[in-house]
């Protein structure tokens, strides 16, 4: 324990939480104009906007939001590898949402109950994230217990993303969180949703050949580079310009 004032935001933690929100928001934004049904154009944009709002607050705690978003190199991003994974089909997006929003929900609940630089933000974000989790859970039910094809796709998506779930519970410096309890709550919640959706919790390894914690340490997956290149190119093409 240190005696730093509770309001001083720890940089690593702000970047971890902020980058998760920023990167997932970007991925969800890629759905615009491509969603399977008009209601989902609205819903996915809602979630993307909530996350972008969270990202802007978190990044602004430790620097200029645009400098951090647009001028950092890939290795300086601290987001989970999970959130940078491509959208894939709608099942893959929903599986990513289920895993991440459940994690974020329990994480933010703990932060909201604590006393740190993130308490206020987490208290507000918990309400948004509860909606994200609800949205993901309901789609998991519909896809898992819908048609044979949707069941198959949802099962495949949950399995494919499973390897990225281990690093969610690697402690982040500066976050006072009971990581063990977080993991237990997450597992119980996700397993419950999957069960109701006639799916089962995947049983493969929870991290790839990369050690868990890779995204948090700045090691990312191949799809992240192209994503960043697209996101940053215009901003970087006009150094010093304001928009």
């Amino acid at each position: 324990m240190n005696d730093a004032p509770v309001t001083a935001p720890p940089r690593a933690a702000a970047l971890a939480l902020g980058d998760d929100a920023l990167v997932l928001s970007h991925r969800l934004g890629e759905w615009a104009g491509h969603a399977p049904v008009l209601e989902e154009e609205v819903a996915l944009a809602n979630i993307a906007l909530d996350l972008l709002g969270q990202a802007r607050i978190l990044l602004s705690l430790v620097g200029d939001e645009d400098e951090l978003a647009y001028l950092r190199e890939e290795r300086a991003f601290r987001n989970l590898q999970l959130v940078e994974q491509p959208n894939g089909d709608f099942a893959q997006t929903i599986a990513r949402q289920l895993y991440f929003s459940t994690y974020q929900l329990f994480l933010y609940r703990q932060l909201a109950a604590g006393d740190s630089a993130f308490t206020g933000l987490a208290a507000k974000a918990v309400k948004e994230v509860a909606y994200h989790q609800d949205h993901a859970a309901h789609w998991t039910l519909r896809l898992g217990d819908g048609t044979a094809e949707s069941h198959e796709r949802m099962a495949r998506a949950c399995g494919a993303l499973w390897r990225y779930t281990g690093e969610m519970f690697e402690p982040v410096e500066g976050l006072e969180v009971d990581w063990r309890a977080l993991e237990d709550s997450w597992r119980e919640s996700v397993a419950g949703v999957l069960e109701r959706a006639t799916l089962t919790l995947p049983d493969g390894p929870r991290s790839g050949a990369w050690r868990a914690g890779a995204g948090r340490q700045g090691l990312h997956t191949e799809p992240f580079g192209p994503m960043l290149a697209e996101m940053q190119h215009l901003h970087r093409s006009h150094p010093g310009a304001s928009w």
Binding site: A35, E41, R56, L141, R142, D145
Partner: protein, 326 residues
């Protein structure tokens, strides 16, 4: 029977003449219903196709603030599509049927969205000019004789005016920015100005549906009148932006108290309308693909809803479920 039908028609005519609203359960002439469905559907299609050119820039938005504004705008357009498909539904035509007509080319959307967004400044030009033209067209529709359409338009116009201001503000930042940014803004205005003027439709003497629509108070002003109004609004705004409108014939006419402007290239308009614009194929292909690729998702939602109704799934699981279009 004849007298009854005539009685209904007289009541309808009287209601329209008295500026009363026609509601879904009221009797209405079949041609009025058909004309409204056609217009509302085309409007709804324009909202959802119109998401594409701007969504094209979400992933590259140059600041997080602009990214949030743009995402929210594209989301609003999806919402507008939803309101309008619902308004059409009150006339007995479902969303699925209308989407099918869009996807098979039997119904159109606004031709403006067949132009490409080539730079970031195009996002601003669309907001300022395209949303601006849409508002000029649509504000009178808030007084349209058909109630559900008029009410949808009140809501939509409020949001469109946000979009217009945001677009203007985006262009202003570019115009006052670096030389490269200023040039980007001018280039976008050069490309979007004339297509925006075409958004008001063909000149009055060539407009096929205008006269009847005006009689029914579906439409309130002629194409040329609205176009003139739009030009008069834009000229001082362009000056304030520090950007030129690409029309050497544009000048104030003291006598008319309005601006004169150059001849519109109606040959281009007709070509784009026919399907030969720069993006017609691309837009409809993307729309069709999104719909086809989403078919299994809609099927799953429908199958799940059926199971839930049949009681094989606990009801609570579906309580807040959104009805997906099957």
């Amino acid at each position: 029977m004849e007298t009854t039908a005539e009685g209904f028609e007289a009541a309808f005519d009287a209601a329209v003449a008295a500026d009363e609203r026609i509601e879904p359960r009221d009797w209405m002439p079949e041609a009025y219903r058909a004309s409204l469905v056609r217009q509302i559907a085309q409007h709804a299609h324009s909202e959802i196709i119109g998401m594409q050119p701007e969504a094209n820039w979400i992933s590259r938005a140059p600041s997080l603030r602009r990214k949030a504004i743009l995402m929210a705008k594209v989301q609003d357009e999806a919402g507008h599509g939803l309101y309008l498909y619902s308004a059409a539904e009150t006339l007995g035509t479902g969303r699925e049927e209308l989407l099918d007509k869009l996807h098979t080319g039997r119904q159109k959307y606004s031709s403006i969205f067949n132009y490409p967004t080539l730079t970031w400044a195009d996002v601003g030009a669309i907001g300022w000019l395209v949303d601006g033209a849409a508002i000029t067209n649509q504000v009178p529709l808030c007084r349209c004789s058909y109630g559900p359409y008029a009410r949808a338009m009140v809501r939509i116009c409020k949001e469109e005016s946000f979009h217009q201001r945001q677009g203007y503000e985006l262009l202003l930042a570019l115009s006052n920015g670096t030389p490269a940014q200023h040039e980007m803004a001018q280039d976008a205005v050069n490309r979007w100005w004339w297509p925006s003027l075409m958004m008001f439709g063909p000149p009055d003497d060539e407009s096929a549906h205008s006269a009847q629509s005006m009689a029914w108070k579906i439409k309130r002003h002629s194409n040329d009148e609205l176009r003139q109004r739009f030009v008069d609004i834009c000229v001082p705004q362009a000056e304030a932006l520090g950007l030129a409108l690409p029309d050497p014939d544009l000048r104030w006419n003291e006598e008319r108290g309005r601006h004169d402007f150059g001849a519109i290239d109606w040959a281009e308009f007709r070509e784009v309308l026919k399907g030969n614009g720069p993006c017609n194929e691309q837009r409809i292909t993307q729309r069709r693909r999104a719909h086809e690729e989403g078919a299994w998702v809609r099927d799953a939602a429908a199958a799940y809803a059926t199971k839930r109704r049949a009681g094989s799934v606990p009801a609570e699981d579906g309580v807040r479920m959104m009805e997906a279009t099957a």
